[in-house]
């Protein structure tokens, strides 16, 4: 039982904190908002040089073999700087789906290129009608003479427009037309039949909604051997939620620090805001919730390789609890900044929006408390 960082982990954290503080300044962020790509390829190259893109990839595939704790350290630092590089899409989700499902040939073809920063991925899974139900996919994949034909619509594809390849989930249509197993397909950017409606994402980065109309793919576009992809998707999304939780903790900590600073400095009725007992207590609650969120993000990371029910309970528990804390912390940070908090003049608004996006991604608190209760045998999901 040891929850202290190893020396390597401490070094990783320090270098990430330093790099983020130096690179992701307020000015950088204001520029990035207007960037049609949503992030900087030059910085992405630096991520590769720092070894961050190789972090969770197995050594056999050109990676460093790191785990959820290391990912969490990076993500927390990214949160502090509101980093909008597609690390979650490409490394945490994309590379992990390839590693979980791909054939050895696919892994060899894709993972080293991710590690060296030469390939970006996105994951197109959610559909409007499914809301946050990971198992519900209406997009279909039909076997053709020489490959596959995909049809359907996806929403909330993070970093989709900048991705070199999009991993698309679809149900393989059976011979009788009924829908069957869930499968994942590698769809190169620009494939005919793919329509992206790109948008600026709340709190930074880009996203898109995606239509697939008779998208023709070669046979080897299927990731892996065609066995049901749902367990892998659940594994990867659980770990992605742990990583997002760590990112949220970084964001919340920054909001707390900034708000403490502001309430000490800002004077009203002749004394600092922080002289008000109500504000002092509110900040005590904010600090407490940041700490609870930190505990839960750590817990989800430590359980990332546990058996599925334990892993999913930890992940859903973390997503639910951190989401609740994030909402409180974000709303209070804005409230205590007063009128300045509800403008785009300060960074506070961007951090607020990124937490709102966090809460929405993969489902909010109520959804995950319900999933937790179902996994605990208390309710039927």
């Amino acid at each position: 039982m040891d929850l202290t960082l190893s020396d390597e982990q401490r070094l990783l954290r320090e270098s990430a904190d330093r790099f983020v503080a130096e690179t992701f300044t307020s000015e950088h962020r204001k520029k990035a908002v207007n960037d049609p790509l949503g992030y900087s390829p030059a910085i992405w190259k630096q991520f590769a040089e720092l070894g961050w893109l190789a972090l969770p990839i197995a050594e056999a595939h050109g990676g460093l073999g790191g785990g959820a704790i290391e990912i969490g350290l990076l993500m927390e630092a990214f949160g502090r700087g509101l980093v909008s590089e597609p690390f979650l899409s490409t490394v945490v989700i994309g590379a992990a789906l390839v590693a979980e499902c791909g054939t050895e040939a696919q892994k060899q073809a894709i993972l080293p290129r991710i590690a060296e920063g030469a390939l970006t991925l996105a994951f197109a899974h959610s559909e409007r009608a499914a809301r946050f139900d990971l198992a519900r996919v209406d997009t279909t994949a039909t076997k053709t003479a020489d490959g596959w034909r995909l049809n359907g619509s996806k929403v909330a594809v993070l970093d989709g427009a900048a991705a070199n390849q999009i991993i698309v989930s679809a149900r393989i249509a059976n011979a009788n037309g009924a829908s069957g197993k869930l499968a994942l397909f590698l769809v190169p950017a620009g494939t005919p039949g793919l329509t992206l409606r790109d948008y600026a994402r709340l709190g930074g980065g880009r996203g898109c909604n995606l239509d697939l109309r008779d998208v023709q793919l070669p046979a080897d576009a299927l990731l892996g051997d065609g066995s049901d992809a749902l367990p892998a998707i659940e594994t990867v999304v659980d770990r992605a939620m742990a990583a997002l939780g760590a990112e949220a903790v970084g964001i919340m900590q920054t909001l707390l620090d900034t708000t403490l600073e502001y309430t000490k400095m800002r004077k009203q009725f002749g004394r600092p805001l922080s002289a008000n007992q109500v504000i002092r207590h509110r900040l005590a609650d904010v600090a407490m919730q940041v700490d609870e969120a930190r505990s839960m993000a750590l817990r989800a990371a430590l359980m990332a390789n546990a058996e599925p029910v334990a892993r999913s309970r930890a992940a859903s528990g973390a997503k639910a609890k951190i989401g609740k804390c994030a909402r409180f912390v974000a709303e209070q940070a804005v409230q205590l900044h007063g009128a300045m908090g509800v403008t785009e003049e300060l960074d506070i608004g961007a951090y607020f929006k990124r937490l709102l996006a966090f809460d929405t991604l993969f489902g909010g608190s109520a959804h995950h408390y319900r999933r937790h209760a179902a996994l605990s045998g208390r309710v039927h999901a």
């Binding site: 929403v155 709340l202 009203q268 929405t360």
Partner: protein
């Protein structure tokens, strides 16, 4: 005790409903639905003001001699409720509900004759110059100075959070004309033509991405002394009157009910994947609806007291706080209802006149900006913290 309206009042309700039906254009309605702000853009809001003025309903709260319709409190309730139900645009409240009553109460006959008809007709568009950087909830600490020079005041300083200053041709402002013993003394209430040389305006984008508010700078701005309302140094009193005037006259429950209905309709539709089937969302809708029921009853109790000539008393000071909290709950519900489509930011404005097809269905566009902008409900107009200070002191006698 009785919740029903009289036959006359029902007839009036029908009249309002009919007039709205004939004069509210589909464009106005769509623009209002797609505006993620409590302030309609002037092209929409002023068109509606003109329609109301045509009917003699341009200023429901004004005395009849200044062009008010001479309604009972119940009629005002019915009017506002019908407007909310129909989804009409917001008119220039800074004119009709704020500066108008002050000019009526304290302005000179000349000021009344000049300004009031222009508010009614929609010819003038007003903004309010109260807050300053660094004054916030402690309004009385304001520093913008008006120094007497012959028949003019020369104004220097800056105002902030000035809603629609970029649209307005007039501003009413609190300025410091004297250093009183108390901060509140020495403040005067002045009417300013926004075209006066020396006035510049800087836009401030809200957290939701809307251009609603501004910072306004005054650099040796000369305003005739004749533009002062009432006595010099009494501006604080007039400003407070403005707040009292509003007390109990507004109704918020009808608008909140409509806002909840909009969200409920979205939740029942395919466009949100039928979010209402999420039991958490369904329950929270009931929770918010019941909160609106409670608010409505409280508002009706105030109305009833006003009708029978009683003082509604302490209750009305609790209303602002609840309204802001319920508004935020409704907008939050909206965010949860639209789910992942809330990730898409549409920076262009107004939503009802986009030059491109948005990434998400049009009706979802205002939902997140409304939530974001709605964080201001508990901040502007006296933060919730200040409201609770006031309730503790004034209502509970602590």
């Amino acid at each position: 005790m009785d919740l029903t309206f009289s036959a006359e009042e029902r007839a009036f309700e029908q009249e309002v409903r009919d007039y709205i039906a004939e004069s509210l254009t589909p464009e106005m309605k769509r623009a209002t639905a797609l505006t993620p702000s409590v302030f309609s853009d002037p092209d929409i809001g002023m068109a509606w003001q003109r329609a109301l003025h045509k009917k003699g309903w341009g200023a429901p709260g004004w005395p009849v001699e200044h062009g008010g319709p001479d309604w009972t409190p119940a009629q005002r309730w019915i009017f506002e409720a019908e407007c909310a139900r129909a989804g009409v645009p917001n008119v220039n409240v800074m004119g009709v509900k704020m500066v108008g009553p002050v000019i009526i109460g304290f302005g000179s006959r000349e000021q009344q004759n000049f300004y009031l008809p222009r508010i009614l007709s929609g010819e003038d568009y007003w903004c309010q110059g109260y807050s300053e950087p660094g004054s916030g909830s402690d309004l009385a600490s304001l520093k913008t100075r008006a120094v007497r020079d012959g028949d003019d005041y020369v104004i220097n300083g800056t105002k902030i959070w000035t809603t629609h200053a970029h649209h307005a041709n007039r501003m009413f402002a609190l300025v410091r004309t004297n250093e009183g013993e108390r901060q509140q003394d020495g403040i005067s209430f002045i009417l300013i033509d926004m075209k006066t040389p020396g006035i510049t305006t800087r836009p401030i984008l809200t957290i939701g991405g809307d251009h609603e508010v501004n910072q306004v700078f005054f650099d040796d701005v000369r305003v005739p002394v004749a533009n002062r309302v009432g006595e010099e140094g009494k501006g604080w009193t007039y400003g407070k009157y403005l707040l009292e005037f509003e007390r109990g006259s507004g109704i918020a429950s009808a608008k909140l009910r409509e806002a909840l209905k909009t969200i409920t309709d979205l939740a029942g539709s395919e466009v949100t994947g039928r979010a209402i089937e999420d039991p958490d969302i369904a329950m929270r809708m009931s929770e918010v609806e019941v909160d609106i029921d409670a608010l409505e009853m409280t508002e009706l109790r105030v109305l009833s007291a006003l009708q029978t000539g009683q003082n509604p008393g302490a209750v009305s000071s609790l209303i602002k706080l609840r309204v802001s909290e319920i508004r935020q709950a409704v907008t939050r519900l909206g965010v949860d209802v639209i789910g992942q489509d809330g990730l898409a930011v549409e920076p262009a404005r107004p939503f009802y006149r986009l030059n491109h097809e948005p990434a998400i269905p049009e009706e979802l566009l205002p939902v997140v900006p409304e939530y974001l902008n709605g964080r201001a409900y508990t901040i502007f107009g006296g933060s919730s913290e200040i409201q609770r200070d006031i309730i503790a002191k004034m209502v509970l006698g602590l």
